[in-house]
Symmetry: C2
């Protein structure tokens, strides 16, 4: 192949993800991406077409990693309470990492009003849907039949609560406060 790409795509997407995570799809500009990755604007347009195409790649990478982590968190622990706690703690650490904390990319993207792209919306819905499935599966396997019977409904409540945590983080709540809320929530939900 002639005229070979001068930058590492993996590295480029990873850096772009960081930019999108900190600024959001709407507020991150091609200039931001160019500056952060060291790849010129024109090259990015040539390679990907537009900003949204870059976002989609970055988001897919992020979503894949997130699902892996969540699956593992929900598999470790003696009982369903511990597993849910692991899951919530993982998300909390995830959204409160970085300086300043970068928040939750999925939630930020869901709230980004300037996004009319069906592809982006579907990706957000995909993450939420898969999270519900993971949690539902975990709850289903609990010995408590009262819980297991309502696994789907409860899973949606849990995922909804995680979205709330993401909003509270943006509003200024600290990791410690979020963890306390999460503990209270798990305790109240699956009995303590």
């Amino acid at each position: 192949m002639v005229g070979v790409r001068q930058f590492d795509e993996q590295e480029m997407i990873a850096t772009a993800l960081d930019v999108f995570w900190r600024k959001g799809l709407h507020d991150a500009t091609m200039q931001d991406l160019a500056a952060a990755t060291g790849v010129q604007r024109g090259s990015l347009y040539n390679a990907y077409g537009d900003k949204e195409a870059i976002f989609q790649r970055a988001f897919d990478q992020y979503a894949g990693q997130l699902m892996d982590s969540c699956g593992k968190a929900l598999a470790e622990g003696d009982d369903i309470a511990a597993r849910l706690q692991n899951f919530l703690d993982l998300l909390i650490v995830n959204m409160t990492s970085g300086s300043p904390p970068r928040g939750c990319l999925t939630t930020r993207t869901a709230l980004d009003g300037a996004i009319s792209s069906a592809a982006v919306r579907q990706r957000v819905q995909g993450v939420l849907s898969r999270l519900e499935q993971l949690v539902s599966k975990a709850i289903s396997s609990a010995p408590d039949k009262r819980l297991a019977a309502n696994a789907n409904r409860l899973a949606r409540v849990v995922v909804t609560f995680t979205r709330g945590l993401a909003v509270m983080e943006r509003a200024g709540y600290t990791r410690k406060q979020l963890k306390e809320s999460a503990a209270t929530f798990v305790d109240a939900l699956v009995g303590g």
Copy 2:
């Protein structure tokens, strides 16, 4: 007084609130406000200084009305479950009203990454803080001492959950789905 204002301020702020609610502080432009209110851009700059000043007035009006409604919702009902349900239903209806649904202004504002204004951030925190107080007060008055003793912590969980509902709405969940989640949440939280 000479050289009198040619538009009704109350009406202007109410219309501006509608614009901000549908587009968000960041995405709503002065042109949007001018077009919706019928007041020219220059007049708005002359009267208020900048967009954020208009937003603050609109937000204060919105927050006041919201607190009133929430206070009433939390006061009606036989038990704490019914009161919380009223409260959650109110918020759900509030965020799913309009066509297309306008969502939750507080949550949208909290997630708006382009906002560095301390005044705006404080207003968002103020709403969340006051909501926590209202809910906490309602829970405190419940006969169930196990609940009342944890009123503050539980109230924060409830408010966090409401933020989650706002995100789920943006992600495409319908009013019906949100209400079902809310019902499941209340049932799990305060026993059913």
